[in-house]
Subunit: 96 residues, 2 copies
């Protein structure tokens, strides 16, 4: 298992690509959280989708630790927090 | 760089965890596509979120190929297709 430190000091091209992809899928949640925060409208979201996504992102993070992938660890920690926020909005402001 | 074949025949515990996480974040999109297909209601989705997510998932897939991660490759191919479907619905049935 590679250590986190080896990645921090040796960013190879694959890691840079991973960080780029991870940055995109993570920042994707910011305009969504902003929109949902303002509108409090969540009926178009599937509750199942949000529960599965949030759980899955958490497990991706564990996988990231297991294979020592900095992109997976960093981006999934942030994505997890943001998807939890949308899930909480969904539960609070609408059913189904 | 590890080959895809080495993963297919030697599924270690990390790969199994990754496949589990990837399966969850991928199947998460199925209830969403089903709901959106039926309702054609997409106004609660942020267009920026969908564009960033779809692009990011595509780059995750490239990262998967670069580090030889079967979970990243398989699940992001499927997730990409499903997120494109929701993006197309968003563009077709609503602006903003």
């Amino acid at each position: 298992m590679q250590t986190l430190f080896s990645y921090l000091f040796e960013l190879d091209s694959a890691t840079l690509v991973g960080l780029f992809g991870g940055t995109l899928t993570t920042i994707a949640f910011f305009p969504q959280v902003t929109k949902t925060w303002q509108t409090r409208s969540v009926k178009d979201f599937s509750l199942s989708m949000l529960v599965l996504l949030t759980t899955g992102v958490f497990i991706w993070m564990i996988y990231g630790f297991m294979i020592g992938s900095l992109p997976l660890i960093l981006t999934n920690i942030v994505t997890f927090i943001l998807s939890v926020i949308i899930l909480v909005f969904k539960i609070r402001y609408n059913g189904n």
